[in-house]
Amino acid sequence: MTTTTEVDLDVATYCLRLGDDALVLAQRLCEWAARSPQLEEDVALLNLALDLLGQARSLLTLAGVREGRGRDEDALAFLRDEPDVVNLQLVELENGDFGRTMARQLLVAAYAVPLWQALCASTDADLAAIAGKAVKEVAYHLDHARSWVVRLGDGTEESHRRVQAGFDEVWPYGFELFEVDPLLERLIARGVAADPAALQQVWRATVEEVLAEATLVVPETGWRPTGGRSGAHTEAFGYLLAELQHLHRSHPGVSW
């Protein structure tokens, strides 16, 4: 029996945060199944969801191991209540139309690419191994989002208007991507976690470049909703969690 250290608990929380981001975004993307604009997009969106689900499973499993309380991926995904789920609010927002979904995809993927690149060099070997796989997946996620944002922005008048509206709506939730708290500071100091300050520069450059190519403008806002990392959520989240968890919770302790 190994003893759980303070560092283990910090890593567990960090993995929970990243795992919840992946799980909640996968859940949102799955809502597009058999509802997308064309068959190729059904394949592509489910592909993104499958990658994110794989990341979520690895991260939640690692979180459970480090936490040392015997919780596996399913216990963590299905049996935590809303205040204990610590994803960014950005990923839980309702999909809206395809333009808004792609706007969110761009903001998330432009952050995920430098995040996983940095985590490939994490001093935590297990996290670095997860990053090694994720970094290849999110490169495609960024390409996918970029190509749609550019086509929608520089497509028709209607698509331009819709995708710009999508960016305007999701943009304020992007600030939360780069917040730092004491836990993150401790993990950055140990070389475990990625430093948001460095990520933000890369993110900003990517997003601005894509928006310019798409003939879209960077939204201006002073509003910075926050709180996801401490379990504060939007009203839409309760419905998402209910749908995710109800069947598992209705049959406690069984196998599936």
Binding site: A34, R35, G54
Partner: protein, 310 residues
Amino acid sequence: MDEQAFTARVTGDDRVEPRDEMPDGYRRTLVRQIAQHAHSEIIGMQPEGNWITRAPSLRRKAILVAKVQDEAGHGLYLYSAAETLGADRDELLDLLHTGRQKYSTIFNYPATSWADVAAIGWLVDGAAIVNQVPLTRCSYGPYARAMVRICKEESFHQRQGFEAMAVLAAGSPAQRRMAQEALDRWWWPALMMFGPSDVDSPNSAQSMAWGIKRFSNDELRQRFVDATVPQAEFLGLVVPDPDLRRDEETGHYRTGQIDWSEFATVMRGDGPCNRERLARRVAAHDDGGWVREAAAAYAAKHAAARAVAA
């Protein structure tokens, strides 16, 4: 076009390729069959797709996402195969959306419990394989080749469905009940997937002569029943057919009468989910119109810009 020579050619295992001469009737029959098959794949995403967000474990969720994604891929290959015969995907979709072409009646039944997801994999993908394996030897090359790839994936889906059903059947009383009720719901509709008895199936003889069809509906149905009844017994589930018995002489299972009036009702559009399935498909297509238009406008703009630059 010498129709007799063509028929002789497809009877001896020669494959017809897109550029080859072929009788109009052969082309029309194939386009309709491939299109209806493609429509079935994409409508078939709905009943199971509805369960992705509710799947009871992350492993099952991932398996289901991959499966529904495969079905979208099957739709894509099949529309492409139809396009090799001169059809156009948008026109075929329009025929689906306006009810002028059909899809498999099986997808007009509701999937109301998690066990239905397992039952669909086990029974519906299982029946699809029995129907489709002979199509890998179909006389039209592109269709036959698409079916090789599709059948591999369908058999994977069938095994996953059976495995999910086995877990439920060996689970809690509530899970066992869920499993039995799903078998009760899907058994008869699955048998109907093979179509009416051959005496009532007007197009069968011509399709046989053209090498599009290799076995009769009844032969294929029998094959499915013989394979599936022992699986149900293995799971400890009861096939909902009081007349089901094993013919000791031939070794075949004999089922009771199939209620073909139910099949006709669903075919006519009055199954439990016909309206819902089609409405959802049409809504997705309509809601996505502005996205497809944007992609086309962007491509046209940039093709023009490239032409000017060159």
